[in-house]
């Protein structure tokens, strides 16, 4: 019978033009969540997914069966972040379905089928980042997420569960977990689904193969047997089972940090003004000049102007948090809303001593310090993941020091003006020695010098000393790419920009993503590298998105036609 609910009842329609979605804002707040309900009861938070069908980002699809689009995930990301800062008392977060018999049907297929390639890529990247943030909260904030699958979790629904520390599935004879992307849609479970099966949940690879090709997935019995989920409860024992699991986690968890207090996160949004070729976005410590005519954005970062407040009384206005939130927002807007921009020039201006002082203020064990440092690390990883060329421009008056010096090692190239008096300097600090791991787990310094132990040692020693390094020395130490003198400077920078802007954007994205992550691999790295790359390839292939491709035909009256040739 056609009675079993389909993933989504959809009929494909015309694909949208590359930029025909409304400009995306990443600002959200629990008081205005459309798709989630957050309830906090002491150390236990319950986050219920209640997606509103008719509140998708653009017309033409309905978010049925708790399927999601980017707007749903923006609220989720906001929630993950706020729980860490605003609710440090929370020790466990139960994420569950707010409707009967359904947890989440994954990303909305009609939305995906109608979205441009660029939007799909951005959507996947953002949702992937959100899921790594859930894992980051489990690992570093003592907030353990558990997935309480009160009904079927398919595709992205199960992938969301995989991001949690533990997964429980209701055993009602019907509900199942599944990754039906391959058999039903001709694409991959690209939100970490494949990678977490083997690397996190340690599912045997042949069992994972069976699971990922069986559209209906596994019900509780098989799912438990193969570690696809951690346990199951019958319907009558469901509520108590989840409750007692949450209580056990709370009992085992480190208690709420002694110095934890709620840090309210105010809204972050730039003032936007028109400018020649585009727009200027102004935040308190970040300015972005978007020039669509040259396809270049200038990202100006401003260091703190005043001494840091005592971290015991600091709040979200502290530069170390405020600035990174602004940078985060600017990066996301560049990705989603400024597809024309191919090159981002990053400058940092201000007093390096103040940056170091603000870094120093959040060193040490305190709760606030730890949360801010972990957040900075996440923003820097967001920077690593940009599919745009990043150049750092280091000029006199710059404040590439301490945590901001990490940006020099995140970008693809850095240009540092070799001035006559050696005033133009950068300052590495111990922050570069381990606090800001990349997605592959390495420090940016280690990834920078994969085969040069001496150079790495010198750089690490310089970081230990936190001493200013002038352009000539920085060049010798390999800390910047080029250090032209004042006579060559303008030309060198101009030519570099013009040359870069002329190259194939696809090849550049691929090249940069390969070169940025030298060294070993981690699960995250495989998700953002291997899984994502394959998914983005499939997203371009006729077998997925051609006239008779599986993604396009899903829900259509005709069935897909494949080109079966394989290499």
């Amino acid at each position: 019978m056609p009675r079993k609910r389909s993933i989504l009842p959809v009929i494909p329609h015309e694909r949208m033009a590359e930029t025909s979605y409304p400009a995306v804002s990443f600002d959200a707040h629990p008081s205005s969540y459309v798709h989630w309900r957050l309830e906090i009861d002491g150390p236990v938070a319950t986050l219920s997914m209640c997606v509103q069908e008719n509140r998708g980002m653009w017309p033409g699809y309905e978010l049925k069966l708790n399927s999601y689009d980017l707007s749903v995930d923006i609220e989720l990301a906001d929630c993950v972040q706020r729980l860490r800062f605003e609710h440090p008392e929370v020790r466990t977060v139960i994420v569950t379905g707010g409707y009967d018999k359904i947890f989440c049907a994954g990303a909305n297929i009609r939305m995906l089928a109608s979205a441009s390639h660029a939007f799909k890529v951005n959507f996947c990247k953002f949702t992937n980042e959100t899921r790594t943030y859930i894992e980051d909260a489990c690992a570093h904030s003592g907030q353990t997420w558990i997935a309480a699958l009160n009904g079927t979790a398919s595709g992205g629904g199960y992938e969301l569960a995989e991001a949690c520390e533990e997964i429980y599935l209701i055993d009602d004879g019907n509900s199942a977990v599944s990754l039906p992307e391959v058999p039903l849609l001709g694409v991959l479970p690209g939100t970490g689904g494949l990678t977490r099966l083997t690397d996190k949940r340690k599912v045997r690879r042949d069992i994972a193969d069976v699971f990922c090709t069986k559209a209906e997935g596994f019900k509780a019995r098989d799912a438990v047997k193969h570690r696809i989920v951690d346990g199951s409860f019958s319907r009558s024992k469901w509520a108590d089972g989840i409750k007692s699991r949450a209580a056990a986690i709370v009992a085992k968890a480190t208690p709420r940090p002694a110095d934890a207090r709620a840090i309210t996160l105010p809204s972050v949004a730039p003032a936007i003004t028109a400018a020649s070729g585009g727009e200027i976005w102004t935040y308190s410590s970040v300015t972005v000049q978007v020039d669509r005519s040259t396809r270049v954005a200038s990202l100006e970062l401003r260091g703190p102007t005043e001494a840091p407040a005592d971290s015991a009384t600091a709040d979200a206005s502290a530069w170390a948090l405020r600035f990174y939130r602004e940078l985060d927002d600017a990066l996301l807007r560049l990705r989603l809303n400024e597809l024309d921009i191919g090159l981002v020039l990053i400058r940092a201006s201000g007093d390096p001593a103040q940056v170091l002082a603000h870094d120093a203020a959040i060193q040490g064990e305190g709760w606030f310090n730890t949360e801010v440092r972990n957040y900075q690390a996440r923003v820097l990883r967001r920077l690593d993941n940009m599919a745009k060329t990043l150049f750092a421009i280091v000029e006199p008056g710059n404040c590439f020091a301490g945590s901001l010096a990490e940006i020099l090692f995140s970008v693809d190239r850095s240009y540092m003006l070799a001035d006559d008096d050696g005033e133009n300097a950068i300052t590495l600090s111990p922050a570069s020695l381990g606090g800001f791991a990349m997605h592959n787990g390495a420090t940016r310094l280690a990834a920078r010098f994969p085969g040069d132990a001496d150079a790495l040692m010198l750089a690490q020693a310089a970081a230990q000393r936190s001493k200013a390094i002038d352009a000539e020395t920085a060049d010798e130490m390999g800390l910047v790419t080029f250090a032209p003198d004042a006579i060559d400077w303008d030309d060198e920078v101009r030519i570099a920009i013009e040359e870069r802007s002329s190259l194939s954007p696809d090849a550049l994205t691929g090249m940069e993503q390969n070169l940025r992550f030298g060294g070993g691999e981690s699960m995250d790295n495989k998700i953002f590298g291997r899984l994502t790359a394959w998914q983005n390839w499939i997203f371009q292939r006729p077998n997925a998105v051609g006239e008779r491709g599986a993604l396009k035909m899903f829900g259509a009256p005709e069935r897909p036609i494949f080109d079966y040739r394989r290499t």
Binding site: P2, R3, P183, P557, E558, R559
Partner: protein, 471 residues
């Protein structure tokens, strides 16, 4: 322990020569009997019931009558004879030879289709297990048990397909069919209508009339499957299903007739005062079960329906006979949909509307029965007529679910709905009243006060025949 398969399990699938099937059934058959004794008809397992048994597909072979204890009933496995020239009736493979083995590509989908259909068979037995205790006559009690054992046989038929064609997965699914329980909080049956209680005989008649009729149309659609063993199984099941439908249709008709008689007999025209069920109450039962049964067809716009048709797994009702164009491509179906709070017409690709196409065949069939009921009402001399509500009324599945429609199918908003709900659907008081009339009548030939006798008995026997011999 050796089993004489052909003796115990009448079949035309060469069971005694099929080791794989034997192995599967050796385990499953005892589990089935445990299930039957555990949740089958309550209290009558030791009695001799005048039942019809299918022993072959020959003319006459499918209906052998005799007294038998239900646990000894010979649940058989029958497929209609194969037509060597049969081709796939509809979809992308239309016109190609039918499949005798499951195509790997459709294995999971087919299994799901079969399991969903199969799950309804034991479910209804469970729903009806208490009804024997309040049967309005021995004749009705026998009909109830006949329906029950045949639902049991339909389960066998589906389990045969799972065992014969779906390997270990199929055997696991067959086991699960005996593990789920209607209405159970932890292991409910798959479909909602099959978790609803069946507490009284008016419900039983409505259920067999409306819900079993959904079964007829689902079986009909599967009889048009490109997977030949499924199609042949379903064709044979359809002959039995017809009996269930007539139990429902004639049961409701007898209650209607009696209702008119009692209404006339009462000086205030109140059938309830005479110990009967008044006509408006019967209409409420019809509204409720018709709507619940419409849900079973699935959503009006469905990608699954398109897939099943396109793959040739299901057809339309009489796909091979009534249609000449079997691709159903480049055609649209006009459908009323709710948009911005009002109804507008939408063009839906025909394949995606296949659930609705099947539902329309069903609705037309129901309308024919209602016509016959109204002739009976006319015959009894009343002006009252029963009718079916709009297919948008009181739906919990599909595109009309979540909106409030009146009986005529107009959007009315939730306040108006709440106000009128009890005039359309059984209230708690209505249910309690009907339940209060349910008392067993055990003397052969006698009928409960609220129901008219049938026109004739079973298999040419008298109405007063001893259909049930109590142990």
């Amino acid at each position: 322990m050796s089993i004489n398969y052909d003796e115990q399990i009448p079949n035309n699938v060469n069971l005694s020569g099929d080791k794989r099937l034997q192995r599967a059934l050796e385990k499953w058959q005892p589990a089935f009997l445990d299930w039957w004794n555990d949740v089958g008809p309550m209290g009558f397992q030791k009695d001799d019931i005048y039942l019809r048994t299918a022993v072959s597909t020959e003319p006459g072979g499918w209906a052998q009558f005799g007294h038998v204890k239900m646990p000894d009933y010979r649940w058989g496995i029958f497929l209609e004879d194969a037509d060597p020239n049969r081709t796939i009736p509809g979809g992308d493979h239309a016109g190609q030879p039918v499949w005798q083995e499951v195509p790997g590509e459709y294995r999971n989908t087919l299994r799901r289709i079969i399991v969903t259909q199969a799950d309804t068979e034991p479910a209804s037995v469970e729903q009806q297990r208490w009804l024997g205790q309040t049967a309005p006559s021995m004749y009705d009690m026998r009909n109830l048990f006949q329906v029950n054992v045949e639902e049991g046989r339909h389960l066998w038929a589906m389990v045969y397909l799972l065992h014969a064609h779906f390997g270990k997965d199929g055997r696991d699914e067959a086991d699960d069919l005996l593990a789920r329980r209607s209405g159970d909080a932890d292991k409910p049956r798959i479909l909602d209508a099959f978790n609803q209680p069946c507490p009284d005989w008016l419900t039983f008649f409505c259920f067999t009339m409306f819900t079993d009729r959904d079964g007829k149309y689902q079986l009909g659609a599967l009889a048009e499957s490109g997977f030949d063993p499924l199609a042949r199984t379903c064709r044979f099941m359809l002959t039995e299903e017809a009996h269930h439908l007539s139990v429902g249709e004639l049961g409701v008709e007898r209650v209607l007739r009696r209702s008119v008689q009692l209404t006339k007999a009462d000086k205030n025209g109140d059938a309830r005062a005479q110990g009967g069920i008044d006509l408006p109450t019967i209409q409420k039962w019809i509204n409720y079960w018709y709507s619940y049964s419409l849900d079973l067809f699935g959503s009006e716009i469905s990608s699954n329906a398109a897939d099943f048709f396109g793959a040739g797994l299901k057809g339309r009702w009489n796909e091979s006979k009534d249609f000449t164009e079997h691709s159903a491509l480049n055609q649209h179906y006009t459908m009323a949909v709710v948009r911005n709070g009002s109804l507008t017409e939408d063009q839906v690709p025909l394949r995606n509307a296949m659930n609705e196409v099947l539902r329309q065949s069903y609705m037309a069939d129901c309308e024919r029965v209602v016509k016959r009921w109204n002739r009976a009402l006319e015959d009894e001399g009343t002006d009252f007529r029963v009718s079916l509500p709009s297919s948008r009324f009181f739906r919990r599945q599909g595109i009309y679910a979540g909106h409030d429609f009146n009986r005529e199918g107009d959007l009315i908003g939730s306040e108006a709905w709440q106000k009128q709900r009890e005039s359309w659907l059984p209230s708690d008081a209505d249910r309690a009243y009907v339940a209060s009339l349910m008392h067993a009548v055990t003397e052969p030939g006698k009928m409960a006060h609220w129901i008219a006798p049938p026109r004739k008995g079973i298999n040419g026997q008298d109405i007063a025949f001893e259909y049930v011999r109590r142990a």
